[in-house]
Structures are given as C-alpha cells and as structure tokens.
Amino acid sequence: MSRIKDAFSDGKAFVTFITGGDPDIETTERLILAMAEEGASLIEIGIPFSDPVAEGPVIQAADERALAAGCTTDKLLDMVKSVSQRTDVPLLFMTYLNPIFTYGREKFIKRCAECGIAGIIVPDMPFEEKGELSGLCEENGVDLISMIAPTSDSRAVMIAREARGFLYCVSSLGVTGMRSEIGMEIGRLLVKVREVTDIPCAIGFGISTPEQAAKMSAISDGVIVGSAIVNIVAEHGKDCEPYVREYVRSMKSAVK
C-alpha cells in the first residue's frame, strides 16, 4: 500500500506545496515540519526550474528566488533526507522533466527513494510520455502522480486507471495561481473517474480561501494549495513560519 494513498484514508486530505529553497533551504526545512504539525496530509516540495511553463507568476517568482539563492537538486535531496526522518507526513517532489532528465533519470529516482520521497509530480510529462519515468518509479517504490484537467474528457479514465498514489485534478483552465472563482467542471470528470477506480482524487490550481477549499473538498478526496502559501513566503521571507502555520491551520479546518 502506498504511503500517499494511506494519507487519504483518514478523512479528506489537505496537500500543501512550497518551492524548495525559497527563500533558502533552512526555511524550507522548517516549513515542512511546521506544515506537518499543523495538519498537512501530504507536502509537495517544488524543485525550482528556470522555465516552469505550468506555473503562474507567484511560483515563477519563487523559482527565480530559489535559484538565485543557490538552490540545487542535490541540496534539496540532502535536506529531504534529513527532514523525512523527523515527520511521518509523506513528502513529494514537484518538478519539470528537464531537471530530472539532465540529473539522470535513474540516479534521480533512486536518490528520491533513498531520501524518503514518497512520490513525484511532473507537470510537463503527460500520459503518453510517462514511460520516461514510470518503470523507474515502480522499481524504486516512488509513486508517479498522474494529472487530469477539465480538458481531459475521454482521456481522464485512461489516465486514472494507471494512476498511482493519488490523482491530481487540475481545477480549471490556466496555470497555477490564486483564482477568485473556480467552476465545477472538474467535478463532472471526477464522477466518471470514480466509476473505474478507487484512486483518491485531490483538486489543485487556484484554491486559496477556506471557502474554496470547503467547496472543492466536498466533491473530491482532498485539496492542494500552492501559490497562496508561496505568496506568504514571498511576503515574509525567512520570518514566514508563524504566518504559514496560521494559514495552514485555517485551511485544514475547512477541508472536510
């Protein structure tokens, strides 16, 4: 049984995202432990990339800050190796295919497993190209997270059947970032997915308020929040921990 799937067994999940190394690796480490204490069910750590095409301005800026501060894949792996021994909350990496490919696919996935990473999310690797990593992930016990979007239509069932850990459901069109309104179209797709698989489904992209979290968790197994947290980090820098704690607590209580 996957540790990630387990995280959905006790009520609805609240999944948080921060960009690794923003504003520095030490702060990322403290935030992981703080978010775990405040009730995050899964924590995604973004490995910064120079050209994150699926991200809106908030996470783009975080990636730029992290890279300018000297964050690298190796430094994040070392940090995760240490922090994963101090929390039971499963940790995931979110990054683009190029940093993984250039690092060396096999070396990267093996190191992820060694360092206690439970899963990876690669937004520019669709179903048709997942062979780049799926075999290596299976061999090393790392869940390769699949994504569906409102445009997936007939593709959603095909993707869901082979999904591991949880199914990442993109709430609406566009890139990551806070939205004032989120439509319900992804909900219709989830109904179809549930007919063929019992994989937990978590909704992400655009969710920032407790009201949105409540609405989206009502139609799914959990919600994912990234830009809103990254925005707090941007605003308060190294002193962001108490603000992130407060925010995670308020969101966690809305996810039911």
Partner: protein, 394 residues
C-alpha cells in the same frame, strides 16, 4: 518510429491540460493535409498574397568577389511581410480557421513571426495576440508597432531572460488559459508534436522551389545549401527536399554571439546537451542541473537555447552539419551583402551569408552554393547602426 519522433528526439512533453488541443490539431492536420480544397486555398494564398514562388537569384558580384563556388540566393526576403515566416503562418491560420478557431496566439523573437501572424489574422478576420520578450520589444520596436498596426495585441514578456524562450513560455501559458477558440501558431519547427512536422511541411516549399529553379538554371542540384538556425524553420524548409540527395551538403549556421567559448552565445549544437523542454526532446543550452541557460545573440530571431528535434536528428546522423557564426561575422556579412549585391539581409540570414563567404573560396568554380536569405534586414538597420556606434532614431 514512435509518433512525432525524429529518432529519439521530438515527442509531446506538455501539461495534460494541452494534450486534447494538440491531438485535435494533429487530427485536423492529418485530414486537411490531403484535402484538395485546403491545398488549393493555401496554394492560392502563397501565390497571390505571399508572392511565391520566391526568386532564386544568381549573386554574380558576390561569386566573382569570393572567387570560388557559384552563389545563388533564395530570396525569402521578398515574400510579403519580409521573411519565410509567412509560409508557415498562412498554412496554420488556414488550418486553424478550418478547425473553427477564431483567435491566433504566437511567440515572436525578432518580430517576423509575430508580424506574419498578425498579417494572416488580419486577412482571415481572426483575433491575434503576440507574446514577445521585453528585451526584444526594445530591440525591435518597429516590428511591435507594425503588429499593432495590423490589429494585433502585443504583450511584452517580463519573466526570465525576457527573450524568445520566455515568449514561448508565456504563449504556452496563455494557451492553457484559453483553448477552445484559440490556436497557438508555433513559429518554428519546435514544440510538441505535431508542430515540428506541421511547420516543416509548410516550409518545405522553400527546398521544393530551390530544386526546381536550380534544375532549370543549372540543370543539376546544388553542392551545398546554407541557412541560419535558431529554432530552425527556414533551415528545415531549405533542407527538407534535399535530405535524400546525398551529394547536397546541408549546413546550418548557429548564432555564436560573442563566440562559442564565451558564455554569451546561442550555439545549441556546439554547446547543448540532450534535454526535454518546450514540449520536445532535443538539444538545449543548459547547466548540469537542467536549468535552461540564458543565451545571447545580436539576432533576436536566433536567440533561443534549443533547436527543433528534426535538426537534432540531422546533426546526430551526420546528414547536416552545423557551424557557429559570431555577431561580428554576421554584422560584416550584413554590410557585405548590402554593398556587394544591394540586398540588405535580416541579421539572422546574415549568419548564413557569413558562412558562405568562408566556404565559397574553398570550393571550385564548378561548384554551386545556395544561401537561404530567410528575411530582409530593414528591421535590423537601427540595431546595426547602434552596433557600429551610430546614434540614429527610428
């Protein structure tokens, strides 16, 4: 061979949200590429609107001056809008309209693809939005105004290095925001499948015409075809019909900026490694952690850290060779062609002219070189003046 692959290169590495859009495009293209009505309409546009066929001009003075191989210039600069970009854009705009799309979005570097897209959108009553790196909007201010004059909205892109790669990022992001009525008119033989194939097919008319015109003028094929390479669309167009003619050398000229050993260059084949970016597996300038390198060239159109996947394959198999050309060599060639033949080439195309100047004297007088003049240089005059320290106002 897997779908959309050129050897190991190519593929469809894009967010799930765009997969249905590229599959819809692929289905439409597979249908319309063999549709007689579509081809008749496109042929009519290319002849009566773009001004094809473009001339294959024998550069007598340049040939005499260099004292070696005969030099012919393929005059894509004479096309409507001033470059080869119109070939691809008319094809994609027509295809998009057949698909029921009413809005075109596109990236642009030097502005030539943006101008061509804005032109096609005006002609076909489509909305048009162009994404252009902020640095490029300053280098190519005239083209920004030209696009606006044609009715397009131009978005200066302020993320990353504020050049062509960032413009591609932003156009991809815009596509994920609005898909159902929008076609992304990709400007080069890059991006996810089916774009590298579609753009090549719409550009291969260049080599088809060169072949016919050369057989008529000389009764034989050329010995070498030279073209500049950024993403690689004019080169792919100039090379394609010669790929199976092994006697024809195919030479792509990359932008070496201040030199291949200087960090300020954009020579992907010389300095790049295999990576996955902008939807494709290909060669990219990047660091050991896969961060895409900030590249540099005096030419905004060649200032791109990657290369189309079919070029990566042509390089790997040795069918084509790729050579670096520096800023200073390109500027000298820009001035040389202007003074020698009275033809002001785009600074991009001047990279190809520069290599022809090196190669021609090494070849016998019975040999023939074709240089693809992919665009005209009017847009570059102010930048070349600045390079030479002349302060002129546009």
């Amino acid at each position: 061979m897997r779908k959309g692959r050129f050897g190991e290169y190519g593929g469809q590495y894009i967010p799930e949200i765009l997969m249905s859009a590229v599959q819809e495009l692929e289905d439409a293209y597979e249908y319309y590429k063999n549709d007689p009505q579509f081809n008749k309409e496109l042929d009519g546009l290319l002849r009566n609107y773009a001004g094809r066929p473009s001339l294959l001009y024998f550069a007598r003075k340049m040939t005499l001056d260099l004292g070696g191989a005969k030099i012919y210039l393929k005059r894509e600069d004479l096309n409507h809008t001033g470059s080869h970009k119109i070939n691809n854009v008319l094809g994609q705009a027509l295809l998009a309209r057949k698909m029921g799309k009413t809005r075109l979005i596109a990236e642009t570097g030097a502005g030539q693809h943006g101008v061509a897209t804005a032109t096609a959108a005006a002609l076909m009553n489509m909305e048009c939005e162009i994404f252009m790196g902020k640095e490029d909007t300053e280098r190519q201010a005239l083209n920004v105004f030209r696009m606006e004059l044609l009715g397009a909205k131009v978005h200066p892109v302020t993320s990353g290095t504020m050049t062509l790669k960032d413009a591609v990022n932003e156009t991809l992001r815009e596509w994920t925001r609005r898909i159902s009525d929008t076609h992304y008119a990709m400007g080069s033989v890059m991006g996810p499948h089916p774009f590298p194939t579609i753009v090549r097919d719409f550009q291969k008319i260049i080599s088809k015409e060169i072949k016919e015109q050369m057989l008529e003028a000389e009764g034989r094929l050329p010995d070498a075809v030279i073209a500049c390479v950024g993403g690689g669309s004019n080169a792919m167009g100039a090379f394609y019909e010669f790929i199976n003619d092994s006697s024809v050398r195919l030479i792509g000229c990359e932008a070496a900026g201040l030199g291949v050993d200087n960090p300020k260059n954009a020579a992907t084949i010389a300095n790049g490694t295999v990576g996955i970016f902008h939807g494709m597996k290909s060669l990219f300038c990047q660091d050991e952690y896969g961060q895409i390198a900030p590249v540099y060239s005096i030419s905004a159109g060649l200032d791109y850290p990657g290369i189309g996947p079919e070029h990566a394959q042509l390089f790997e198999t040795g069918r084509a060779q790729y050579v670096p050309v520096t800023d200073s060599e390109a500027v000298e060639a820009f001035e040389y062609l202007s003074k020698t033949e009275g033809i002001i080439p785009a600074i991009e195309s001047a990279h190809a002219v520069a290599y022809a100047r090196k190669l021609a004297p090494q070849m016998g007088r019975d040999k023939i070189i074709v240089v693809n003049i992919s665009g005209r240089g009017d847009k570059d005059v102010a930048a070349i003046a600045r390079y030479r320290g002349v302060d002129i106002h546009e």
